[in-house]
């Protein structure tokens, strides 16, 4: 059922949802993974958020609260573009307060988006709702930890705590992409 209209979903709706999920999946691949060639990140985060800008209005037709994310998606796109651009030019130390504010926006954004996707999964009879809700909790905690003003890049990654964090981060990233793909497949089946 479409929670927005409280009517049964038409097959065209499922097709549209698959398309939306495809965009979101690709967006998350761009956001969570990074491949650097020297200073250049060839999987820039801002491209991922740009994809989300296009996916969110369509998602909002089925999950109305997703419309709250559009402004933040735009803000995150611009912010990540600036950061990517400054990295290309050798890096820049942004004021800590600015990075913390955008950290807060990012935490909320991903939490709400994953919640919306979980709601979508429940309303369309898919089984990924519970996994998505668990994922959003772990993702929130991880993002919070990484957003703290700790010089993670200078810490020896082979000691216990950073290694554990790195492991969790890797697991969450991979799990995110897998769950989204699984949800997409289930919608395709429908």
């Amino acid at each position: 059922m479409n929670p927005a209209t409280e009517q049964s979903l038409h097959p065209k709706d499922y097709t549209a949802l698959v398309s939306i999920l495809r965009k979101i999946s690709w967006a998350y691949i761009l956001i969570v993974f990074s491949i650097h060639l020297a200073w250049l990140d060839i999987l820039p985060d801002w491209l991922g958020y740009g994809l989300l800008i296009s996916a969110i209005p369509d998602l909002a037709k089925y999950v109305p609260s997703a419309s709250l994310l559009h402004t933040f998606a735009c803000l995150l796109t611009v912010w990540n573009f600036i950061v990517w651009g400054m990295d290309l030019m050798g890096g820049y130390d942004f004021p800590q307060l600015i990075t913390v504010i955008f950290g807060c926006i990012s935490i909320y954004f991903h939490f709400q988006l994953l919640t919306n996707l979980a709601d979508l999964s429940d309303s369309t009879g898919c089984s990924q709702g519970r996994r998505l809700r668990s994922l959003r909790t772990f993702n929130t905690l991880l993002q919070t930890m990484l957003a703290f003003p700790v010089p993670w890049e200078t810490i020896n990654k082979f000691t216990l705590v950073p290694a554990f964090i790195l492991l969790c981060a890797s697991g969450i990233m991979i799990e995110t992409v897998l769950i989204l793909n699984q949800l997409k497949k289930e919608l395709q089946i429908h």
């Binding site: 800590q96 307060l97 913390v100 807060c104 919070t144 003003p149």
Partner: protein, 726 residues
């Protein structure tokens, strides 16, 4: 807060925090629940109560530097005027908040006898705080008196309805009274709360009393909103003269009401929620009785309009949103409380108007370690920078340093406005890759009531050319014989190769949680000549420390003399690539050299000297000079094995064998080594290590004991007069 400047800094910091929170709340206005919108204000409450960071860590804007610069300008001008100096602050006493609460305190640097303009302003501020608190107390007392006089006990039906409402929603209840001419219900009191209802309910039937009104008020009671209201009022009083913060505290009150609305709506369903909105609408024409120690359903027409907007947006926020709220609050705490910017040190300024800001910045920067203070002092000489000198100098020298500054504005120069020192090293410091200077003989100083250490700072020098100003000064510091030696050396090797060293006599002391440097005596400049392999080694330069300096022991007889030099040399942990570019106020000591040099010089007849084919020099530490009185004490052969060049801690020896006539009459024994200081505090070792009281030195020539000398401390304390930048 002990003066008006500290209040200005505190209120500006709180205002900035409030502004940032307002921005965040606007961003998340329709995204996070009223619970977060209100609770986030407790970060502001903490910010009000905790002192603003002043050690050059700040939130986005360098408020401490601005306030410090403004203070020094204002207090200097006022001191010079008829108003006189301030009692609570001094021009160069850095703003240092220790509390968010006001309490006047006389500044240690103040020279005033009476209050000045800024002191009076601060006293007016304190009077304002007290009068606000008094006003709150009086208004609460008046309200309570009014209730006692005019309020009536409510009817049994009303009381029954209140009880049933409390029971239905699992809320606490309280005594209920009614009063005439009351616009809306409210809870009055913190410790003995009373629910006050408008008197029209007295004559209405039970159905006329809206349960939702009671629900709202009982929720205020459950969550102690009256107590929270008192808390916010107290914080408001601390910043009574800041109109922006008054607006913010009004917003906090409105957010508290909006949170109560949220709690009401969470307990209602469907049509009841719309009815609740209608009840609020009916109150838009009513007066707003905001009173101390109360919580009310109505908070003014415009605010009710905002609350109705929130009700229209009401939705059940997803579970887990509390986690997001907590995470965001934790993240925000770090920059808001601990500052988000590390110290920015303005070494060079690009315009004279930044002169005051630069010196303010210098005063606020702290050398947090002894090594940091010494390193900053060294750099002030090497860079000819008064700002650096100001950073590592005591407060009472700040004015002198500023007055002696020679602002030389170079248009277009890369270093811009150069705060030249009148006496510096003028291009002399050798651009060493490491070990740019040594700190010799760091030891406790005999200074009462403070933690202080003496040391000699030795800086290797190298001339940059025949026509440099530094060369003239260097030559002027030499004796005629030494001057000639310099010129002869220059003729032979070139002026560019003239090498020397500068010795500074420093006292390093603690002042208000920072380490500062004063010079005990004028510096000395020495010509070192060609040191060969000894260039830049601490042993070679130690020879240029004064023979009356710390750690020198002497003994002399008719046939010989002994000089024992006990020496420690520290270096500072500096990145070789950044020797002349970055200031490290938190530097650590890096390498600790520990040396003991015993030098014997034969004074006897020349024919005796030329007959010597074996020399044995032995040294032993004495716990007291009286130890050596006993003859048996000198028989220490069994304790030392062999003729090692250096052995043990308390003994050292050196031997020489050669052909007759080849001995030059001197013999030197070395003992010591080096080790990294890493995180070890050298001062902890200083406390434990006392200087050796005396040394016993034994000389054997050709296997026969020739000399027994007791070397006693020969150093005198350098006079403790202070030497400023000159």
């Amino acid at each position: 807060m002990s003066n008006i400047w500290e209040f200005l800094l505190q209120t500006a910091t709180v205002s900035l925090t409030a502004g940032l929170l307002l921005l965040l709340k606007k961003l998340f206005e329709d995204k996070l629940p009223p619970r977060w919108q209100y609770t986030i204000w407790f970060l502001l409450a903490l910010r009000v109560l905790l002192p603003a960071a002043t050690q050059n860590r700040y939130i986005l804007l360098p408020l401490p530097v601005w306030i410090e610069a403004l203070k020094s300008i204002a207090e200097q001008n006022l001191s010079a005027s008829a108003f006189g100096p301030s009692l609570f602050s001094a021009p160069f006493d850095p703003v240092h908040l220790t509390s968010g609460l006001p309490w006047p305190a006389v500044s240690a640097q103040s020279t005033a006898d009476t209050c000045s303009v800024t002191d009076v302003l601060f006293l007016i501020y304190i009077a304002g705080v007290l009068s606000c608190l008094l006003r709150y107390a009086i208004s609460y007392w008046k309200l309570r008196s009014l209730l006692r006089r005019n309020a009536c006990e409510s009817s049994p039906e009303v009381e029954d309805l209140v009880c049933k409402t409390a029971e239905k929603y699992n809320l606490p209840d309280c005594p209920v009274v009614t009063m005439e001419d009351l616009p809306s219900a409210f809870i009055c009191g913190v410790f003995k709360p009373v629910l006050v209802l408008p008197a029209r309910t007295q004559t209405d039937s039970q159905e006329g009393i809206d349960e939702k009104i009671l629900l709202h008020e009982l929720l205020h009671l459950k969550y102690h909103d009256a107590l929270q209201s008192v808390f916010w009022s107290l914080l408001r009083a601390l910043h009574w003269c800041n109109p922006f913060l008054q607006y913010v505290f009004n917003r906090i009150g409105n957010d508290m009401e909006a949170l109560c609305d949220q709690r009401v709506l969470e307990r209602l369903e469907g049509e009841e929620r719309r009815e609740y909105g209608r009840i609020l609408l009916e109150m838009t024409n009513d007066r707003y009785p905001r009173a101390f120690g109360t919580s009310s359903l109505s908070n003014g027409a415009s605010n009710i309009a905002l609350r109705i907007g929130c009700i229209a947006r009401f939705k059940k926020y997803p579970k887990g949103m509390e986690l997001v709220s907590i995470c965001m609050a934790l993240l925000l705490m770090v920059p808001l409380f601990f500052g988000a910017t590390t110290r920015e040190f303005n070494r060079f300024q690009d315009s004279p108007r930044n002169y005051h800001l630069a010196f303010a910045s210098a005063r606020l920067n702290r050398c947090t370690t002894m090594a940091g203070a010494v390193d900053t002092f060294y750099r002030s000489l090497a860079d000819e920078n008064s700002l650096l000198l100001a950073t590592c100098s005591p407060l009472h020298l700040q004015y002198t340093i500023r007055e002696q500054m020679d602002p030389d504005f170079y248009e277009g120069a890369s270093n811009g406005f150069n705060y030249s020192l009148p006496v510096s090293l003028d291009g002399w410091p050798y651009d060493a890759e490491k070990d740019a200077y040594y700190i010799y003989n760091l030891r406790s100083a005999a200074v009462e009531e403070s933690t202080a250490y003496d040391a000699e700072l030795l800086i290797p020098l190298k001339s940059i050319g025949k026509y440099s100003d530094g060369l003239e000064e260097f030559l002027a510091a030499q004796t005629p014989k030494q001057r000639q030696a310099v010129l002869d050396f220059a003729d032979k090797h070139g002026y560019a190769n003239i090498a020397g060293c500068a010795v500074y006599y420093l006292t390093i002391s603690e002042e208000k949680n920072r380490w500062v440097i004063t010079q005990r005596a004028p510096r000395d400049l020495y010509f070192t000549g060609d040191l060969g392999e000894g260039f830049l080694s601490c042993e070679a330069y130690a020879a240029f420390l004064p023979e009356t300096g710390y750690g020198v022991y002497k003994a002399e007889s008719e046939t010989g003399k002994v000089l024992v030099r006990q020496m420690t040399a520290l270096t500072v942990d500096i990145d070789p690539a950044k020797v002349f570019s970055e200031v490290n106020l938190d530097a650590d000591f890096y390498w600790n050299y520990d040396r003991e040099t015993v030098t014997y010089t034969f004074k006897g007849p020349d024919d005796t000297r030329t007959s010597v084919t074996e020399v044995l020099l032995e040294k032993r530490n004495l716990t007291s000079p009286e130890d050596a009185i006993q003859e048996s004490w000198w028989n220490w052969d069994a304790e030392i094995s062999g003729n090692a060049a250096a052995s043990g801690t308390n003994h050292s020896s050196r031997s020489w064998e050669g052909e007759p006539g080849t001995w030059d009459g001197t013999m030197t024994a070395l003992r010591g080594g080096g080790m990294t200081v890493s995180h070890m505090d050298p001062t902890a070792q200083l406390d434990a290590a006392e200087p050796v009281p005396a040394y016993a030195v034994r000389i054997k020539l050709n296997g026969r004991l020739t000399e027994k000398l007791v070397a006693l401390p020969a150093w005198t304390d350098i006079p403790q007069k202070e030497v400023n930048a000159e």
